[in-house]
């Protein structure tokens, strides 16, 4: 059986490896648009911050892929699908036939269509190329502006600050990481990053990027112009669905898949950030890898079913432990809050009908796994005060 995987990000690579392992006699071809070996995208922030080297990011050296029986081709982007013929066509016109196709095209960083958005020095934060470009500009020092104070934006900001830049984050909400943090944790984080020299302008919207041949500043809606020789846009992601849509697959915001990761074409699977499952997109590596496993199992003829668990997110900035999971909007849930001013620790749990549905941990995230488990188990909580104190108080409760 010929299996072609399009996209060599974490999901695609994992799926290729698993298919090669599980489907006897499979010929697996992994095509990646990026001119790089499969690497750990999640670790880009650590590369930017100077904590690791490029080589450390490589997850699958070429020898390992060969040993796994995978034909890997870097720098090969697929331009079209011919479903009738069961053939993919690369941008270079090469046609590769398949019995089963796996789409793992991931997503692209959203670029705001602002005046000046195309100026040199305005970057997204998505791949190795972006990080290389950032590092080149950062080497010259000066001011950087990160548009978007989400998880990635903050990692970009701290990375650039670690590289010696004066960084300002422009964020649309009143506190950073608003999708993962409640306002109080957000305020703690703002203060902590502030002590590292990162400035926040929020809530504020970017109106334009200024500069002639290179970006020089960012104009925000209060009229200020923030100086910047580097601007990173980190305002969200959008699934890569052009291929699938053009081929007539069912596509909503992402490629629509069933529980076994099959698209509307039984011969085509989709995994990772390019998918949409039961109306929901994913944006993290863990579910992407799970989907890759499920698809590989399905391809191998095993019954497989992806059961999403609530998302959890952690900020990978050394010296700041921030973690959140599940639902964190206070409107419908009851909150239990733990604060330790001295230790700069904070946690807020969200309960509905006596069950844990979400958690924000700030400062001490050692109990992340404990809360993740409780959120997944959905048991009614016995002693609420002890719950927020963490796993070490669980036993004797």
């Amino acid at each position: 059986m010929k299996v072609v995987v399009v996209g060599a990000g974490p999901a695609g690579t994992r799926c290729a490896v698993q298919v090669a392992r599980r489907v006897p006699g499979a010929e697996v071809t992994l095509l990646g648009a990026e001119l790089a070996l499969p690497y750990d995208r999640v670790a880009l922030s650590r590369l930017l911050a100077g904590e690791v080297e490029v080589g450390d990011l490589i997850t699958h050296p070429i020898l390992a892929l060969e040993a796994a029986g995978i034909r890997f081709r870097a720098g090969v982007a697929v331009a079209a699908l011919d479903r009738a013929a069961q053939v993919v066509e690369t941008t270079k016109g090469e046609r590769i036939g398949y019995d089963r196709l796996v789409l793992a095209t991931g997503s692209a960083a959203v670029r705001l269509p602002l005046p000046g958005a195309e100026l040199p020095g305005v970057l997204a934060y998505r791949d190795l190329g972006d990080v290389r470009a950032m590092l080149r500009l950062a080497a010259e020092g000066g001011h950087a502006v990160v548009i978007g104070g989400g998880l990635l934006g903050l990692e970009a900001a701290t990375g650039l600050a670690a590289r010696g830049m004066k960084v300002t984050v422009v964020h649309a909400m009143g506190w950073p990481m608003d999708r993962q943090l409640d306002p109080e944790a957000g305020a703690l984080l703002t203060a902590r990053l502030g002590r590292r020299g990162i400035r926040f302008v929020m809530p504020a919207a970017t109106v334009a990027l200024e500069g002639e041949r290179h970006v020089q500043g960012v104009r925000v809606d209060d009229g200020r112009v923030l100086p910047a020789s580097l601007v990173v846009m980190s305002v969200g992601i959008r699934p890569h669905v052009a291929l699938a849509r053009a081929a007539g697959l069912q596509v909503a915001r992402g490629v629509v898949v069933d529980d076994a990761m099959r698209s509307s074409d039984p011969a085509i699977y989709a995994v990772g950030e390019c998918t949409e499952h039961k109306g929901r997109l994913i944006g993290l590596v863990k579910p992407a890898l799970e989907q890759a496993e499920v698809a590989a199992a399905a391809l191998a003829g095993d019954a497989a079913c992806w059961q999403p668990v609530p998302d959890q997110a952690a900020l990978k900035v050394s010296g700041t432990a921030v973690w959140s999971a599940g639902e964190i909007s206070a409107e419908t849930a009851e909150a239990i809050i733990l604060r330790d001013e001295d230790a700069e620790e904070y946690r807020r749990l969200f309960l509905r009908d006596g069950r844990l549905v979400g958690a924000v941990l700030y400062g001490d995230t050692a109990d992340a796994g404990y809360y993740m488990r409780l959120i997944a188990e959905q048991h009614v909580v016995e002693s609420r005060a002890e719950l927020v104190l963490g796993s070490s108080f669980e036993a004797a409760a």
């Binding site: 009851e334 909150a335 104190l389 070490s392």
Partner: protein, 856 residues
């Protein structure tokens, strides 16, 4: 300071001798007849009460510090004005069984000779006035015929209204030891409550409150029918009055009691507050005494009626006559010649000519505006008297209220216009008399703090300003004068005689060894007494106020094992507070209805109410509730029980009926319950309901409940303990109404605030212990909010105060196989100190008995 000082414990009427070493360490005096080396938990903790915070150190007039001269002038002026405007009977003294005999003597002389009024009464009125009146009716004089040894020599000991285990622990220990040595000895406890004392009892007669007279009347009838009575004056009348007496008791129990009493010649009937504090208290005393008089079982080894007092020197007060219905030295107005003899001896032409107002009447007169000047010494009537709200109002109405006290922290001192600093235990010098007539020295071994002075000195200074020279240079001179008074108007029947002390030199006084009166000549001392005695008719009658549909329960008040009076001294000692650390009202579960254990409950009578935490206790007799009388504004303003207590008094003794007030108990719904632990006491108005208690390490525990939203209260309480440069650890569960916080600075715990929607809150003991830690690390901080260590169990309350052993450890020892007191003692040291916790250890053993019995 050199060597050891011999003195006397100032807490209860047992009057134990103590040895105080140079560092203030206190041990029992093996040479003292009362305790022979033993001490109870209160006595053992004496050393800890020496340095009391909140001492009154300087005279104050109108709230401002004043010199002694100015303050004494103001007191003299106040009395002068009252005398001029309202005559002698508009002046009064209200004193206390805490005073030394010499101070007492000075106060009595000041009232009766200088002011010319017998308006001097003592808080002893609350304690044993009925016993005094009973003694006078039976013996013609206030005499306790027996001695403590009788309790050990008796074959039957009947304890009436006496929780000896808690109230007179050393005597209890002696009784327990005697019974252990001689198991044939029997103990009967007559008490509506199943108290800790019942632990040693062979029989507990749970009398219906107020039916003690009927019980002893029935006993008298039974003894007579059995042919055991001998002719005695008044016996026929007493029998006639007793006819038909029928106490409501289980017939078998009653029969056993009657039979035991009848067949046991060596019988001691010991009675105290439970009998005295009644509107028929005098009759109770006489009903008891009648049975001993009629059978001739009095003044013999191991036989006699035995009144025991609550206060250390109630007896001394009785001896000097510092009650409104006595003159001095067992002299009285009724006996011809005695008044004249005293007037001549004192050269007091205006010596009071008739009895004055008794405590309750006195404050009623004050409330009616008839008292122009009152001097209160060493007592806290604002708290301890029944119908306390009215007493407070009365105190406020007195134009010149003087309070002499060692503490500034008393509700009565608050109300006083003039405050005079008095000496405390260890500072003052004088004598006290215990319940077996033994006069012992209390000796000072500490410097006088601030400007504090002896009460006798302050009294004689005021007397001087009113034109009297008492001429005393110290307590020995007063003691000699007191002894001389007992020799007046003789020859006479009066047994009370200190003639042997009239010539006692100062040195002899200084070295005085414990001596039992009468002391007719130097070197002679008294033993058992066999006074001329008569029977007194005591027709049974119901308490003054009957329970009703509206007030269906009967309220008894009493004391706790480790607390003394209104806690002005013991309240400051954490170790003593640990025993029953909260204001509790106990009630039988059957009476509880919708009331839940641990909830707050309002005890309400026709006179007033108090709010305490409800403890459902199967040991309580159904129909009764018990509340301790200790709580004050200082500690738990809403838990002061005396406003609810009826002001009914015994018609003869004037002693209030503290053991029977019809009440109802109502739930007190509160929006939140909580506690605050802090390194300083916080105001008691912190919440609608609050009780504050000292803990070890100088920390304070505040038990609280209130009506505002928990989150609002939490913010307020946190603000109340907030400190600069300190950081909070907090836990908020607004939906559940749970809020907890700990305040730390550099890892040192400063305060803990815990709130919940229900009274179920983390245990306090363990948290309190953390105040001793130098540094509390990060992980342990969460434990602060849990109220327990991460994987450990919740701590349990302290049972053995001497060795700090918790109920949990005792239970663990029992679970580990200990099945007797001795074995628990071996395993944990619990019960091997003063022994007052042994009944509670026994209770734990009893609880576990079925389990212990089963082979594991």
């Amino acid at each position: 300071m050199s060597g050891v000082t011999r003195s006397t414990c100032p807490y209860c009427g047992v009057g134990c001798g103590v040895l105080v070493d140079a560092r203030g360490g206190v041990t029992g005096d093996p040479a003292h007849p009362a305790n022979q080396g033993r001490l109870c938990s209160k006595g053992t903790a004496l050393g800890e009460t020496l340095d009391q915070p909140g001492r009154l150190l300087h005279p104050e007039v109108d709230g401002k510090r004043a010199s002694w001269d100015a303050a004494l002038d103001a007191v003299a002026e106040g009395f002068r004005k009252a005398l001029a405007e309202g005559g002698p009977d508009s002046t009064a003294l209200y004193v206390s069984g805490q005073l030394l005999t010499e101070d007492y003597f000075a106060a009595n002389k000041f009232a009766k000779a200088v002011l010319g009024t017998a308006n001097i009464d003592s808080n002893s009125r609350l304690c044993m006035a009925s016993a005094v009146a009973g003694h006078k009716r039976a013996f013609g004089e206030d005499l306790v015929p027996g001695i403590y040894e009788d309790l050990e020599q008796a074959d039957l000991v009947v304890l009436v209204g006496s929780n000896l285990a808690w109230c007179h622990p050393v005597l209890f220990q002696r009784l327990v030891a005697a019974k252990a040595a001689r198991p044939s000895m029997r103990v009967v406890v007559v008490d509506p409550r199943r108290t800790a004392t019942c632990d040693v009892a062979d029989l507990h007669l749970a009398v219906v409150p107020g039916e003690d007279v009927a019980l002893f009347d029935a006993l008298l009838l039974h003894l007579h029918a059995a042919g055991l009575t001998q002719p005695a004056p008044g016996l026929e009348a007493a029998l006639a009055a007793a006819a038909g007496a029928a106490p409501r008791l289980p017939p078998a129990d009653l029969a056993r009691f009657l039979a035991w009493f009848a067949t046991t010649p060596r019988v001691v009937t010991l009675f105290s507050m439970g009998a005295n504090q009644s509107s028929a208290g005098t009759d109770k005393a006489n009903a008891i005494i009648n049975c001993h008089v009629a059978t001739g079982r009095i003044g013999l080894p191991g036989a006699g009626p035995f009144s025991i007092t609550g206060q250390p020197n109630a007896m001394g007060g009785r001896e000097v006559g510092a009650l409104s219905n006595m003159l001095a030295g067992h002299l009285d107005w009724a006996t011809p010649g005695e008044h004249a003899a005293l007037a001549e001896f004192w050269r007091a032409p205006k010596l009071a000519t008739q009895p004055g107002l008794k405590a309750v009447e006195l404050f009623q007169a004050a409330g009616a505006g008839r008292i122009g000047a009152m001097w209160v010494m060493a007592t806290n009537p604002a708290v301890s008297l029944p119908d306390a709200a009215a007493v407070r109002a009365a105190l406020k109405r007195i134009p010149m209220l003087v309070a002499s006290d060692c503490t500034r922290e008393s509700d009565t001192v608050d109300l006083a216009r003039i405050r005079l600093p008095a000496l405390g235990w260890g500072e003052k010098d004088g004598t006290v008399t215990n319940s077996e007539r033994v006069i012992s020295r209390q000796r000072g071994f500490r410097p006088w703090p601030g400007e504090a002075r002896p009460d006798w000195w302050a009294i004689s200074q005021v007397a001087q300003r009113l034109g009297w020279d008492f001429g005393w240079d110290g307590p020995a001179a007063i003691f000699r004068e007191h002894a001389a008074v007992t020799t007046l108007a003789r020859p006479a029947q009066r047994v009370f005689d200190l003639a042997g002390f009239t010539t006692l030199e100062d040195a002899g006084y200084a070295a005085l060894a414990p001596t039992r009166w009468p002391v007719p000549a130097p070197g002679v001392q008294g033993g058992r007494l066999q006074p001329m005695a008569r029977c007194v008719p005591t027709p049974p009658r119901a308490p003054a106020h009957a329970t009703s549909a509206g007030f269906p329960l009967s309220l008894l008040t009493g004391r706790l094992r480790d607390q003394w009076h209104t806690m002005t001294r013991t309240g400051g000692v954490a170790r003593l507070m640990a025993h029953v650390p909260e204001p509790l009202v106990s009630m039988h579960p059957d009476d509880a209805g919708a009331l839940a254990d641990g909830a707050l409950a309002r005890v309400e009578s026709a006179w007033g109410s108090a709010v305490l935490r409800l403890k459902l206790d199967p040991a309580m007799p159904p129909g009764s509730v018990f509340a301790p009388m200790h709580w004050t504004d200082r500690f738990a303003p809403a838990a002061r029980i005396n406003p609810a207590v009826n002001p009914a008094v015994d018609p003869i003794s004037g002693q209030p009926e503290l053991k029977h007030t019809p009440v109802r108990v109502l739930p007190v719904p509160m929006a939140w319950h909580g506690f605050v632990l802090a390194r300083r006491p916080l105001p008691t108005d912190l919440a609608e309901w609050s009780a504050r208690l000292p803990l070890a390490h100088g920390t304070w525990r505040h038990e609280l409940a209130g009506e505002e939203a928990p989150a609002v209260a939490f913010a307020r309480l946190r603000a109340a303990v907030a400190e600069p440069d300190a950081a909070w650890v907090t836990l908020d569960d607004a939906a559940a109404g749970t809020h907890r916080a700990a305040l730390l600075r550099d890892g040192r715990l400063l305060a803990v605030v815990v709130l919940g929607a229900t009274p179920a809150l983390p245990a306090r003991d363990w948290l309190a212990g953390l105040f001793a830690e130098e540094r509390i690390g990060l992980p342990a901080r969460r434990a602060l909010l849990a109220g327990r260590p991460a994987d450990g169990p919740a701590p349990t309350p302290t049972i053995c105060v001497c060795h700090g052993v918790s109920a949990g450890r005792i239970a663990a020892a029992i679970a580990g196989g200990a099945c007797s007191l001795a074995q628990v003692g071996e395993a944990t040291a619990a019960g091997t100190g003063c022994g007052s916790c042994r009944p509670e250890i026994n209770a734990l053993l009893a609880l576990a008995a079925p389990r212990v019995a089963e082979p594991a």
